[in-house]
Every structure is written in structure tokens, then in C-alpha cells.
């Protein structure tokens, strides 16, 4: 392993400068729960490690009814999931973040890193997609915003260009009578990677039963997470009866594009996409009714 220079800049400008100077030879260290393993296994080789946890912009954690949630890319899952406004307004996103690894991993891993790692099985990306989140990216040319649904481009691949880093995630405020939910299937209770996952957001009309808006995204059933527009469309304007739930589940099954691997067969994953879609719709509706 070649010698390593370690940098812990305290300003975003300094970090951008170090990234520009180091090019491909820089590893960006957030919580390190993916990067350090990849580094030690030789899957990532670099001469510079850039710790971004001392940069104020990456440590933002705030909520405002008018503008929504701001979640800095270096905020660990443990800090995020104990943040009361997040649990109140985005319970599905919080339950995804809570599923990332053990207690020890929660103390380090970040939602931002979960997204940047680019895994289609990431437990927060489906929720970010259905919530309409925006990824704020900084680079030598300034900052740009990328919709969460466009952020991952393939397994381990994102829109981040050399010299760029994720600064924060912005999640819009929820309309009245809205809730979200996330579920994944794993063959045990804890400490595993999703075989399949699904996130749903629902907004009900004033009558409390007709669906006004719905979005569904499914994960680990394709090279990138999939926003299933047909599943949302199958629900809008309808009551959440068996026929509507069936239609949404069928839409997710149709949209899934899974592979068979050690975690499950393509056929099983396609089935799961439907089951998890149905269940997350039911959970989101239940959450709205509970207020």
C-alpha cells in the first residue's frame, strides 16, 4: 500500500482545491464504512485521503416547514435518525437510514455516503427519490443540483465527476395528509444488504381516502434504483382498495429488472418488488390515518 497523505480541511473551498490538485488520487472519507474497507482490500488505491467531516456545509442538519430538510453529507446515520423533525416528516427515509449496518456502523455511516457509494441496494436512495430530494454537488465550477432519481447511473456509478463532492441532500416539505414508508427484504433481522427494497410516498385528498399523489421507487432490482411512475399513477384518484394495490404491485413487478445472484433469483426479486410496494403503500396510508 503506497504512502498516504491525510487531509481534513475545514472549509469547502479548501476541499475543492485539494480535490482539484489530487485528481483521481484522492479518496473522499465520510463515515468510511465503505471507503476504508475498499481501501484496505486494494479495491480503491489512492495517495490522498480527504476527510470531509470538518467542513461546516457537510454537517448541516435542519428542518423548516417552508423549505424542508437539509441533511449534510457528513452527518452520521445515528445523528440523523435521532433528529425529531426527520422522524416526524420523513419516517420512511429515517427507517431506511436505521437499516444501514450495526450500531457501530450507524455512528459513522452517512446518508450522503450511502448515495455516493452508488449501490442499487442502498437503503436510503428509494426514499430520497420518492420524496423528490435534491443532491447538492460542489466542484471546481461551483455548485450544481441533481435530482436524487438521476444521481446513480449504474452499480457503483454516480453523476459525480472527478473533483466533485456531495455537500448536502435537500428534501422538500411534505404536503398535508402525506407520509412515506420504506421496506427491504433480507433473510434475517439485521446486518444485511437488501435483496429488494421499496419506498412509497402517499398524499391523500381532503376526504382522507382518495389518493391525491403517490410515488413508488424500488431498489436492488436493477442496475440503479427505479422510480416506478406507473405504480404511482395506478393509485392516483383512487381509493386504496385491493384492486388499486394490485395494480401498483403489478406495475413494480413489471418495472423491476433484476439479476439472479447469491442474495436471490431474479424471479424472487421481481415478486418481492410487488410485495414490498403493496406493503409500503399500506404503511404510508396507515401513517397518514394515525396523523
Amino acid at each position: 500500500m503506497k504512502p498516504l497523505e491525510f487531509h481534513a480541511p475545514t472549509t469547502l473551498d479548501e476541499a475543492i482545491g485539494l480535490l482539484a490538485a489530487g485528481g483521481q488520487d484522492v479518496g473522499i472519507l465520510g463515515g468510511g464504512t465503505d471507503l476504508i474497507i475498499q481501501y484496505r482490500a486494494g479495491r480503491r488505491a489512492f495517495g490522498h485521503m480527504l476527510d470531509v467531516k470538518k467542513i461546516p456545509e457537510l454537517n448541516v442538519l435542519s428542518y423548516d416547514d417552508a423549505t424542508g430538510l437539509r441533511l449534510g453529507a457528513a452527518v452520521c446515520c445515528d445523528a440523523f435518525t435521532e433528529y425529531a423533525p426527520a422522524l416526524k416528516h420523513y419516517p420512511g427515509l429515517v427507517e431506511g437510514a436505521e437499516l444501514i449496518g450495526s450500531t457501530q456502523i450507524q455512528s459513522r455511516a452517512t446518508v450522503g455516503g450511502n448515495v455516493c457509494n452508488g449501490s442499487p441496494a442502498a437503503d436510503t436512495i428509494c426514499s430520497l427519490i420518492v420524496l423528490g430530494a435534491t443532491c447538492v454537488v460542489a466542484g471546481p465550477g461551483g455548485t450544481r443540483e441533481v435530482a436524487a432519481k438521476d444521481f446513480m447511473t449504474g452499480p457503483g456509478q454516480t453523476v459525480l465527476q472527478p473533483g466533485e463532492l456531495l455537500v448536502e441532500l435537500r428534501v422538500p416539505p411534505r404536503p398535508a395528509r402525506s407520509a412515506d414508508a420504506y421496506l427491504r427484504f433480507i433473510p434475517r433481522n439485521e446486518m444485511d444488504i437488501a435483496v429488494a427494497g421499496a419506498a412509497t410516498t402517499l398524499t391523500l385528498a381532503e376526504d382522507g381516502t382518495t389518493v391525491q399523489d403517490a410515488r413508488v421507487a424500488i431498489g436492488a432490482v436493477g442496475p440503479t434504483p427505479i422510480l416506478v411512475e406507473a405504480a404511482g399513477a395506478a393509485l392516483v384518484g383512487r381509493k386504496l382498495d385491493a384492486a388499486a394495490l394490485d395494480a401498483a404491485a403489478k406495475a413494480s413487478e413489471a418495472a423491476a429488472n433484476p439479476i439472479s445472484d447469491v442474495r436471490g433469483t431474479a424471479e424472487f426479486r421481481r415478486h418481492l418488488a410487488g410485495v414490498l410496494t403493496r406493503r409500503t403503500i399500506e404503511i404510508a396510508a396507515h401513517r397518514i390515518q394515525q396523523g
Binding site: 500500500m1 497523505e5 491525510f6 468510511g32 450495526s102 450500531t103 456502523i105
Partner: protein, 163 residues
């Protein structure tokens, strides 16, 4: 202080300010064991799966194999060496002995530190909360029943003591 690929870091370990000369490639686990000579923290999987290397870093329990030593500059650290007060064991340590919650003992420091982090935050955890909290600590000898019971009894003991 940084000199290219090596540096001097200072961390407060169990209340004692400790200065270590490290290579930037080192993990916190390596720095604790090989530089500070504190071998209570154990090396297991090196991938964040087993929890044998658990330490408390700035108030949160982490796997020290997945922390770079350089990150610990200026940090507050608690390790298993800080749990007993002289000859007086921490109630968690006493209860692990009472319940025979160990055989080979390699996983024990990690369990003790992780359980301490739990009781620091939640003095009255349910069995389910203990099981989920400790899901990242693996024991390959005893199974978990005695470990869970030891944590429950230590929680009860801590509530009645002034510690």
C-alpha cells in the same frame, strides 16, 4: 502536526491525554494496540462486521478498524481499559463474570464497550433493544443468552448504585 505520510496525533483516551506517532495508513485500532500499547481492544474481522474492536469515539460507539488513526486527532476516546476503576470492576464486567458470558474472551471487550455505550444512553433497555444494539458484536463461543442477561443485570445494578 503532519509530516507528509506520518503525523503526531493527540487524543484523550479514558481521560488521559495521549500522544501517538502514526502512519497515515493506520487504523485507530492499530494506533491503540501497536502505538499506545493498549491491547484490550481486539482485532477481529477488520471489515466492521464483528465489533471486537469497538471503542467509544466522541460519545458514539464505533468499530475502530473502520476509523483512520488520523481522524482521532483531538478526539475523546473510551476503551475497555477505562471501564474498571482500579481493582473495582464496572458492573458490566462483574455481570459478564457472574453469567459466564464469555468463553475465549476475544469478543468480550467489544461487547463491554458497546453495552456501556447503550447504558450511557438508555439506562433501562428492553431485551429487544439490547439485542438490536449489540447486533454488530459477534460471539462465536457462547451464544448470546448469557450476554443479554449480563447486560440486563448490569443495568439493574447501575440503577441502584451511585456509579
Amino acid at each position: 502536526m503532519s509530516n507528509g505520510t506520518k503525523r503526531i496525533i493527540t487524543a484523550t483516551i479514558n481521560g488521559n491525554e495521549t500522544t501517538m506517532a502514526i502512519d497515515n495508513r493506520m487504523s485507530l485500532l492499530q494506533a491503540l494496540r501497536d502505538v499506545a500499547g493498549m491491547t484490550g481492544t481486539k482485532e477481529g474481522c477488520l471489515t466492521g462486521d464483528c465489533g471486537a474492536c469497538s471503542v467509544i469515539l466522541n460519545g458514539r460507539v464505533v468499530d475502530s478498524c473502520l476509523v483512520m488513526a488520523a481522524e482521532a486527532d483531538g478526539a475523546q476516546l473510551e476503551t475497555v481499559e477505562g471501564m474498571a476503576r482500579g481493582q473495582e470492576l464496572h458492573p458490566l464486567q462483574t455481570q459478564f463474570l457472574e453469567h459466564a458470558a464469555l468463553q475465549c474472551g476475544i469478543c468480550t471487550p467489544g461487547f463491554l464497550v458497546a453495552a456501556k455505550a447503550l447504558l450511557d444512553r438508555n439506562p433501562n433497555p428492553t431485551e429487544e433493544e439490547i439485542r438490536y444494539w449489540l447486533a454488530g458484536n459477534l460471539c462465536r463461543c457462547t451464544g448470546y443468552r448469557t450476554i443479554i442477561e449480563a447486560v440486563q443485570d448490569a443495568a439493574a445494578e447501575l440503577k441502584t448504585s451511585a456509579r
